[in-house]
């Protein structure tokens, strides 16, 4: 067991005061440039006073921003919805809305505001730097699930790896996964390169979005699969998903499925998982051989060369 319930949560032996002090010193040291933390810029604006904005809003005039307030709790509704009005169940999704500034924050208010924009992130950032982050590996998280999520413990290690790649990449979550399948089974994720912003925010434990997504993956993985020439072994639902994606792309509605709507084939994480599955099958079966049949209605012999239709 990597993490007994008794000590669970003790990421910060020095508590919030230590982490807050470290955050403030880190921002102060950056001077007028400020620091980019995930998608926001933290800036010291005066003696003991700070401002937070979306990193893409730093060059905008403050008069052009819709919300400017010194209330740190205003961060809460800012973090709730995307610019398009979609619910944000995961605050580290790279879709924080723009058009606001939290100003004249003292050190405590800076901490509070950041904790409502990115719950627990500054604390985990500091714990990572201090070497005190407590990690809970997947097998332990899966083992304690019950009810409708109890079955996620059945996911084999290689499927857990693909699930993490689909569910936790920077395109959908800016935290960096710090946990493994279990203490002896690494995830071996491909490098994601530079972090967004200057702070590495680790993910110490699979979140509820991951558990919920893992349950959906389990359904897909347990479905019977058939060998399809050129595509590999796919389940009925995966084949249907390819159609759904093509239809939605053609209609311009791709992206309409909500972030947490894992039952939808056009959900972004579902599509990421399908892409991994198709790539995996492609690697297994290799390239499709050149067709040895003439095109429909073509009188020419096989193999075909210099097709007039192509010209």
């Amino acid at each position: 067991m990597s993490d007994a319930p008794r000590v669970r949560g003790a990421h910060a032996p020095g508590g919030i005061p230590d982490a807050r002090r470290a955050l403030v010193e880190w921002v102060d040291a950056a001077g007028d440039a400020g620091r980019t933390f995930l998608q926001v810029r933290l800036l010291r604006t005066g003696d003991g006073l700070y401002e937070i904005r979306h990193a893409r809003d730093v060059h905008r005039s403050i008069l052009s921003l819709e919300t400017v307030t010194s209330d740190p709790y205003a961060a809460r509704p800012i973090a709730q919805m995307t610019n398009g009005g979609e619910h944000r169940p995961l605050k580290t999704a790279p879709n924080l809305r723009q058009g606001w500034a939290l100003v004249d924050l003292d050190a405590r208010a800076l901490w509070t505001a950041l904790d409502y924009l990115y719950p627990a992130c500054a604390l985990h950032w500091h714990a990572e730097l201090a070497g005190t982050l407590r990690v809970t590996h997947w097998r332990e998280v899966a083992a304690r699930q019950s009810g409708m999520y109890g079955a996620v413990k059945l996911l084999p290690a290689d499927v857990v790896r693909n699930t993490v790649r689909a569910c936790c990449g920077d395109a959908v979550c800016l935290r960096r996964v710090a946990w493994n399948v279990d203490a002896d089974t690494p995830l071996d994720l491909p490098s994601e390169g530079e972090t967004t912003g200057e702070a590495l925010v680790p993910c110490p434990e699979a979140c509820s979005m991951f558990v919920s997504f893992a349950r959906q993956v389990l359904v897909l993985e347990r479905a019977p699969r058939m060998e399809l020439t050129g595509l590999g072994r796919l389940g009925v639902e995966e084949i249907e998903q390819v159609r759904e994606i093509a239809t939605a792309a053609a209609a311009g509605t791709l992206g309409a499925a909500r972030e947490g709507e894992f039952g939808e084939g056009t959900n972004s994480r579902r599509m990421r998982y399908l892409a991994l599955r198709l790539a995996e099958e492609k690697a297994r079966i290799g390239d499709l051989p050149a067709p040895e049949l003439p095109c429909e209605g073509c009188p020419k012999a096989v193999p075909c060369r210099g097709c007039p239709m192509v010209a």
């Binding site: 669970r8 508590g15 169940p89 809970t136 009810g147 979140c207 909500r258 947490g260 709507e261």
Partner: protein, 268 residues
Amino acid sequence: MQALIIIGHGSHLNAESSAPVYAHAAAIRATGAFHEVRECFWKEEPSMREVFDLVEADDVYVVPLFISEGYFTEEVIPRELGLDGPAPSVTRKLGKTIRYTGPVGTHPSMSRMILRRAEESAGLTDEQARRAGLIIIGHGTERNSNSAEVIYRVSREADEAGVFGHVRTGFLDQEPEVGEVLEAMEERSVVLVPFFVAEGWHTQETIPDDLGINRPAVSPVTEKDGRTVFYASPVGTFPEIARIVLERAREAGAHIPDGVAVGEAAGV
């Protein structure tokens, strides 16, 4: 220093589920009774797994914004928070003393609050209320009798108070079904109160659609079959719930100075 943590279910799909938790937390924060008030969720962030890291106080009171005792309050929440047991329980860990209370829905003052809210939201005088009926709507499930039990108890207490002509209970997923209960009411004027924590698919769509009344987005009032039906907001969104949260914490030992009042402006 003492901190209050309010736990909600939350949702991967919509913002309505967590809205009452945030509203009641803001109302209680404004009273200054706690040094810190923090929200946490099963399906949103911050999660229950990290919430004790997010408060500085050593004395922590944890109140679930749930309707009944059951799977979540007795199994999921204690497990995710790493508590020593279901409510009422005291757990010492991480240098903190954590007191876990029962859910708001089972608090004894629930029936009084529902009666007052039902009268107010329907705009009834005391005399009009005595001639009206009240139906408390529960989700109900055949799998867990606790959720139905609390609603029956609250309905019985509300009926005995004599504020309304009759108070009845109707369910979505078990007998008696709410539509049949509404049909059987003698009163010409009936108030419906969903015993739910938050607005959502059931309160905004399935309940009004099944009953053939206006969705709340259209109007809270429907004239139907010679009867006036008032459809109230779900109980979890009533501003008075913040008082029940405070009361739960006080009963668990939180120091709440006399005269602390939760503002009425905190409606969701």
